[in-house]
Assembly symmetry: C2
Protein backbone atom coordinates (compact mmCIF):
# COMPACT_ATOMS: atom_id res chain seq x y z
CA UNK A 1 0.00 0.00 0.00
CA UNK A 2 1.48 3.33 -1.03
CA UNK A 3 1.38 6.34 1.25
CA UNK A 4 -1.24 8.02 -0.93
CA UNK A 5 -3.44 4.95 -0.97
CA UNK A 6 -3.22 4.64 2.80
CA UNK A 7 -4.33 8.26 3.09
CA UNK A 8 -7.66 7.65 1.39
CA UNK A 9 -8.15 4.41 3.30
CA UNK A 10 -8.40 6.25 6.61
CA UNK A 11 -11.58 7.94 7.74
CA UNK A 12 -10.63 11.26 9.26
CA UNK A 13 -12.56 12.81 12.14
CA UNK A 14 -12.99 15.84 9.89
CA UNK A 15 -11.39 16.70 6.56
CA UNK A 16 -9.92 20.13 5.77
CA UNK A 17 -12.71 20.69 3.19
CA UNK A 18 -15.37 19.92 5.80
CA UNK A 19 -13.76 22.25 8.32
CA UNK A 20 -13.72 25.09 5.75
CA UNK A 21 -17.38 24.46 4.89
CA UNK A 22 -18.23 24.42 8.62
CA UNK A 23 -16.44 27.75 9.16
CA UNK A 24 -17.96 29.45 6.11
CA UNK A 25 -21.39 28.16 7.16
CA UNK A 26 -20.95 29.96 10.47
CA UNK A 27 -19.73 33.09 8.69
CA UNK A 28 -22.78 33.02 6.44
CA UNK A 29 -25.01 32.99 9.53
CA UNK A 30 -23.05 35.85 11.13
CA UNK A 31 -23.51 37.85 7.93
CA UNK A 32 -27.27 37.43 8.24
CA UNK A 33 -27.10 38.55 11.88
CA UNK A 34 -25.28 41.73 10.76
CA UNK A 35 -27.97 42.25 8.13
CA UNK A 36 -30.74 41.81 10.72
CA UNK A 37 -29.52 44.85 12.71
CA UNK A 38 -30.94 48.27 11.84
CA UNK A 39 -27.95 50.35 10.72
CA UNK A 40 -28.09 52.75 13.69
CA UNK A 41 -28.36 50.00 16.32
CA UNK A 42 -25.60 47.97 14.70
CA UNK A 43 -23.22 50.81 15.54
CA UNK A 44 -24.85 52.05 18.78
CA UNK A 45 -26.75 49.39 20.69
CA UNK A 46 -25.18 47.57 23.61
CA UNK A 47 -26.07 45.96 26.94
CA UNK A 48 -24.26 46.14 30.29
CA UNK A 49 -21.36 48.25 29.01
CA UNK A 50 -20.40 45.71 26.36
CA UNK A 51 -19.19 46.56 22.89
CA UNK A 52 -21.62 47.20 20.03
CA UNK A 53 -22.16 44.38 17.56
CA UNK A 54 -20.28 46.50 15.00
CA UNK A 55 -17.22 46.52 17.26
CA UNK A 56 -17.45 42.77 17.77
CA UNK A 57 -17.77 42.32 13.99
CA UNK A 58 -14.61 44.37 13.43
CA UNK A 59 -12.82 42.04 15.86
CA UNK A 60 -14.02 39.03 13.87
CA UNK A 61 -12.81 40.68 10.65
CA UNK A 62 -9.45 41.44 12.25
CA UNK A 63 -9.00 37.79 13.23
CA UNK A 64 -10.34 35.58 10.42
CA UNK A 65 -8.63 36.69 7.20
CA UNK A 66 -5.40 38.07 8.71
CA UNK A 67 -5.09 35.12 11.14
CA UNK A 68 -5.41 32.59 8.37
CA UNK A 69 -3.06 34.58 6.13
CA UNK A 70 -0.49 34.44 8.94
CA UNK A 71 -0.93 30.68 9.29
CA UNK A 72 -0.24 30.17 5.59
CA UNK A 73 2.39 32.82 4.85
CA UNK A 74 4.07 32.56 8.29
CA UNK A 75 4.38 36.37 8.28
CA UNK A 76 3.18 37.97 11.52
CA UNK A 77 -0.01 39.98 11.00
CA UNK A 78 -1.15 42.89 13.14
CA UNK A 79 -4.47 42.58 15.00
CA UNK A 80 -6.18 45.63 13.51
CA UNK A 81 -9.73 46.13 14.78
CA UNK A 82 -9.94 49.73 13.64
CA UNK A 83 -11.56 50.20 10.28
CA UNK A 84 -13.03 53.41 8.89
CA UNK A 85 -16.58 52.06 8.54
CA UNK A 86 -18.26 55.51 8.36
CA UNK A 87 -21.18 54.04 10.35
CA UNK A 88 -22.25 52.24 7.17
CA UNK A 89 -23.25 48.60 7.44
CA UNK A 90 -22.71 48.14 3.70
CA UNK A 91 -19.00 48.86 4.10
CA UNK A 92 -18.75 46.25 6.86
CA UNK A 93 -20.65 43.70 4.78
CA UNK A 94 -18.30 44.37 1.87
CA UNK A 95 -15.30 43.67 4.12
CA UNK A 96 -17.09 40.54 5.32
CA UNK A 97 -17.42 39.27 1.75
CA UNK A 98 -13.80 40.08 0.99
CA UNK A 99 -12.80 38.05 4.06
CA UNK A 100 -14.93 35.15 2.81
CA UNK A 101 -12.86 35.03 -0.38
CA UNK A 102 -9.61 35.53 1.50
CA UNK A 103 -10.44 32.61 3.81
CA UNK A 104 -11.25 30.33 0.87
CA UNK A 105 -7.98 31.28 -0.84
CA UNK A 106 -5.69 30.84 2.15
CA UNK A 107 -7.45 27.85 3.70
CA UNK A 108 -6.89 25.83 0.56
CA UNK A 109 -3.16 26.53 0.86
CA UNK A 110 -2.92 24.80 4.26
CA UNK A 111 -1.28 21.44 3.64
CA UNK A 112 -3.29 18.59 5.21
CA UNK A 113 -0.36 17.48 7.37
CA UNK A 114 0.22 20.92 8.92
CA UNK A 115 -2.89 21.26 11.10
CA UNK A 116 -0.93 19.97 14.08
CA UNK A 117 1.97 22.40 13.58
CA UNK A 118 2.69 24.76 16.46
CA UNK A 119 2.21 28.43 15.62
CA UNK A 120 1.88 31.81 17.31
CA UNK A 121 -0.94 33.92 15.84
CA UNK A 122 -0.67 37.70 15.80
CA UNK A 123 2.76 37.29 17.29
CA UNK A 124 1.36 36.32 20.69
CA UNK A 125 -1.20 33.48 20.84
CA UNK A 126 0.49 30.08 20.90
CA UNK A 127 -1.29 26.98 19.70
CA UNK A 128 -1.56 24.59 16.79
CA UNK A 129 -3.02 25.45 13.41
CA UNK A 130 -6.18 23.49 14.24
CA UNK A 131 -6.57 24.94 17.75
CA UNK A 132 -6.16 28.45 16.33
CA UNK A 133 -8.76 27.94 13.60
CA UNK A 134 -11.18 26.42 16.11
CA UNK A 135 -10.59 29.44 18.34
CA UNK A 136 -11.40 31.80 15.46
CA UNK A 137 -14.67 29.92 14.84
CA UNK A 138 -15.61 29.60 18.53
CA UNK A 139 -14.94 33.29 19.15
CA UNK A 140 -17.28 34.15 16.28
CA UNK A 141 -20.05 31.88 17.62
CA UNK A 142 -19.57 33.41 21.09
CA UNK A 143 -19.95 37.01 19.92
CA UNK A 144 -22.72 36.19 17.45
CA UNK A 145 -24.66 34.64 20.35
CA UNK A 146 -24.31 38.02 22.08
CA UNK A 147 -25.59 39.69 18.92
CA UNK A 148 -28.69 37.49 19.18
CA UNK A 149 -29.42 38.98 22.63
CA UNK A 150 -28.96 42.51 21.25
CA UNK A 151 -31.44 41.73 18.46
CA UNK A 152 -33.98 40.23 20.88
CA UNK A 153 -33.51 43.26 23.15
CA UNK A 154 -34.39 45.41 20.10
CA UNK A 155 -37.49 43.31 19.42
CA UNK A 156 -35.95 41.74 16.30
CA UNK A 157 -36.09 38.01 15.60
CA UNK A 158 -32.61 36.69 14.77
CA UNK A 159 -32.01 34.12 11.99
CA UNK A 160 -32.33 30.46 12.97
CA UNK A 161 -29.10 29.23 14.59
CA UNK A 162 -29.16 25.96 12.65
CA UNK A 163 -29.40 27.61 9.22
CA UNK A 164 -25.98 27.99 7.64
CA UNK B 1 3.56 -0.53 5.30
CA UNK B 2 0.81 -2.14 7.37
CA UNK B 3 -2.56 -0.48 7.84
CA UNK B 4 -1.74 0.35 11.47
CA UNK B 5 1.57 1.89 10.57
CA UNK B 6 -0.02 4.02 7.88
CA UNK B 7 -2.49 5.29 10.45
CA UNK B 8 0.19 6.82 12.65
CA UNK B 9 2.04 8.17 9.62
CA UNK B 10 -0.83 10.51 8.80
CA UNK B 11 -1.31 13.80 10.58
CA UNK B 12 -4.99 14.22 11.23
CA UNK B 13 -6.69 17.63 11.20
CA UNK B 14 -7.85 16.80 14.73
CA UNK B 15 -7.72 13.55 16.68
CA UNK B 16 -10.68 12.16 18.65
CA UNK B 17 -8.77 12.80 21.91
CA UNK B 18 -8.19 16.45 20.95
CA UNK B 19 -11.84 16.90 20.04
CA UNK B 20 -12.92 15.50 23.42
CA UNK B 21 -10.48 17.80 25.25
CA UNK B 22 -11.75 20.76 23.20
CA UNK B 23 -15.37 19.94 24.11
CA UNK B 24 -14.69 19.36 27.80
CA UNK B 25 -12.68 22.60 27.87
CA UNK B 26 -15.76 24.44 26.66
CA UNK B 27 -17.94 22.62 29.19
CA UNK B 28 -15.57 23.61 31.97
CA UNK B 29 -15.97 27.27 30.96
CA UNK B 30 -19.77 26.94 30.82
CA UNK B 31 -19.69 25.46 34.32
CA UNK B 32 -17.90 28.57 35.56
CA UNK B 33 -20.49 30.77 33.82
CA UNK B 34 -23.26 28.89 35.69
CA UNK B 35 -21.32 29.40 38.93
CA UNK B 36 -20.97 33.14 38.22
CA UNK B 37 -24.75 33.65 38.26
CA UNK B 38 -26.43 34.48 41.57
CA UNK B 39 -28.85 31.60 42.24
CA UNK B 40 -31.99 33.73 41.87
CA UNK B 41 -30.91 35.36 38.60
CA UNK B 42 -29.76 32.04 37.14
CA UNK B 43 -33.39 30.92 37.29
CA UNK B 44 -35.12 34.28 36.70
CA UNK B 45 -33.08 36.76 34.67
CA UNK B 46 -33.65 37.19 30.97
CA UNK B 47 -33.50 39.82 28.21
CA UNK B 48 -35.92 40.48 25.35
CA UNK B 49 -38.25 37.60 26.17
CA UNK B 50 -35.47 35.02 25.89
CA UNK B 51 -35.10 31.98 28.10
CA UNK B 52 -33.29 32.17 31.43
CA UNK B 53 -29.72 30.85 31.53
CA UNK B 54 -31.05 27.96 33.65
CA UNK B 55 -33.40 26.96 30.83
CA UNK B 56 -30.57 27.18 28.29
CA UNK B 57 -28.40 25.06 30.59
CA UNK B 58 -31.11 22.39 30.80
CA UNK B 59 -31.14 22.32 26.98
CA UNK B 60 -27.37 21.80 26.95
CA UNK B 61 -27.73 18.99 29.51
CA UNK B 62 -30.51 17.41 27.43
CA UNK B 63 -28.26 17.38 24.35
CA UNK B 64 -24.70 16.53 25.39
CA UNK B 65 -24.85 13.29 27.38
CA UNK B 66 -28.00 11.80 25.82
CA UNK B 67 -26.91 12.83 22.28
CA UNK B 68 -23.55 11.19 22.65
CA UNK B 69 -25.11 8.11 24.27
CA UNK B 70 -27.38 7.82 21.22
CA UNK B 71 -24.39 8.10 18.86
CA UNK B 72 -22.62 5.22 20.64
CA UNK B 73 -25.51 2.91 21.55
CA UNK B 74 -27.57 3.72 18.41
CA UNK B 75 -30.66 3.75 20.64
CA UNK B 76 -32.88 6.81 20.08
CA UNK B 77 -32.85 9.13 23.08
CA UNK B 78 -35.60 11.56 24.01
CA UNK B 79 -34.77 15.28 24.11
CA UNK B 80 -35.76 15.94 27.72
CA UNK B 81 -35.19 19.53 28.81
CA UNK B 82 -37.41 19.25 31.89
CA UNK B 83 -35.55 18.50 35.06
CA UNK B 84 -36.81 19.01 38.60
CA UNK B 85 -34.08 21.49 39.61
CA UNK B 86 -35.98 22.94 42.59
CA UNK B 87 -34.46 26.37 41.72
CA UNK B 88 -31.17 25.09 43.13
CA UNK B 89 -28.01 25.77 41.17
CA UNK B 90 -26.22 22.99 43.05
CA UNK B 91 -28.54 20.38 41.58
CA UNK B 92 -27.86 21.70 38.06
CA UNK B 93 -24.09 21.71 38.67
CA UNK B 94 -24.33 18.12 39.92
CA UNK B 95 -26.08 17.11 36.69
CA UNK B 96 -23.39 19.03 34.78
CA UNK B 97 -20.65 16.99 36.45
CA UNK B 98 -22.49 13.74 35.82
CA UNK B 99 -22.73 14.71 32.13
CA UNK B 100 -18.96 15.38 32.10
CA UNK B 101 -18.32 11.78 33.16
CA UNK B 102 -20.96 10.43 30.79
CA UNK B 103 -19.35 12.30 27.86
CA UNK B 104 -15.89 10.93 28.72
CA UNK B 105 -17.27 7.41 28.93
CA UNK B 106 -19.26 7.42 25.70
CA UNK B 107 -16.86 9.53 23.64
CA UNK B 108 -14.11 6.99 24.17
CA UNK B 109 -16.39 4.32 22.73
CA UNK B 110 -16.66 6.09 19.37
CA UNK B 111 -14.47 4.17 16.94
CA UNK B 112 -12.08 6.51 15.08
CA UNK B 113 -13.44 5.49 11.67
CA UNK B 114 -17.08 6.22 12.55
CA UNK B 115 -16.99 10.04 12.76
CA UNK B 116 -18.18 10.26 9.14
CA UNK B 117 -21.10 7.86 9.68
CA UNK B 118 -24.55 9.24 8.94
CA UNK B 119 -26.83 9.38 11.98
CA UNK B 120 -30.11 10.93 13.14
CA UNK B 121 -29.89 12.39 16.65
CA UNK B 122 -32.94 12.44 18.90
CA UNK B 123 -34.77 10.64 16.12
CA UNK B 124 -34.94 13.75 13.96
CA UNK B 125 -31.69 15.64 13.26
CA UNK B 126 -29.76 14.11 10.36
CA UNK B 127 -26.02 14.54 10.03
CA UNK B 128 -22.73 12.77 10.55
CA UNK B 129 -21.25 11.89 13.92
CA UNK B 130 -18.74 14.73 13.60
CA UNK B 131 -21.30 17.31 12.39
CA UNK B 132 -23.58 16.37 15.30
CA UNK B 133 -20.82 16.67 17.91
CA UNK B 134 -19.72 20.02 16.44
CA UNK B 135 -23.33 21.15 16.60
CA UNK B 136 -23.55 20.19 20.29
CA UNK B 137 -20.38 22.23 21.00
CA UNK B 138 -21.40 25.21 18.82
CA UNK B 139 -24.84 25.34 20.41
CA UNK B 140 -23.23 25.47 23.85
CA UNK B 141 -20.86 28.30 22.83
CA UNK B 142 -23.84 30.18 21.32
CA UNK B 143 -25.97 30.02 24.47
CA UNK B 144 -23.02 30.60 26.79
CA UNK B 145 -22.28 33.81 24.84
CA UNK B 146 -25.85 34.84 25.65
CA UNK B 147 -25.19 34.02 29.31
CA UNK B 148 -22.25 36.45 29.17
CA UNK B 149 -24.66 39.26 28.19
CA UNK B 150 -27.01 38.31 31.05
CA UNK B 151 -24.06 38.46 33.48
CA UNK B 152 -22.87 41.84 32.15
CA UNK B 153 -26.46 43.10 32.34
CA UNK B 154 -26.41 42.07 36.03
CA UNK B 155 -23.12 43.92 36.55
CA UNK B 156 -21.16 40.67 36.92
CA UNK B 157 -17.86 40.07 35.12
CA UNK B 158 -17.95 36.71 33.28
CA UNK B 159 -14.95 34.35 33.21
CA UNK B 160 -12.39 34.94 30.46
CA UNK B 161 -13.54 33.31 27.21
CA UNK B 162 -10.09 31.92 26.47
CA UNK B 163 -9.74 30.10 29.83
CA UNK B 164 -10.84 26.49 29.52
Amino acid sequence: MSKNESKTAIQEVITPAELLKHWQGHRSLTRRVIEAFPEKEFFNHSIGGMRTFAEMTLELLAIAGPGLKEIVTKETQALNEHIDHKDQKNLVLKLWDQATEEIDTYFNQITPDSFQDTIKTFGQYEGTVISSILYFIDNEIHHRGQGYVYLRDLGIEPPFFWER
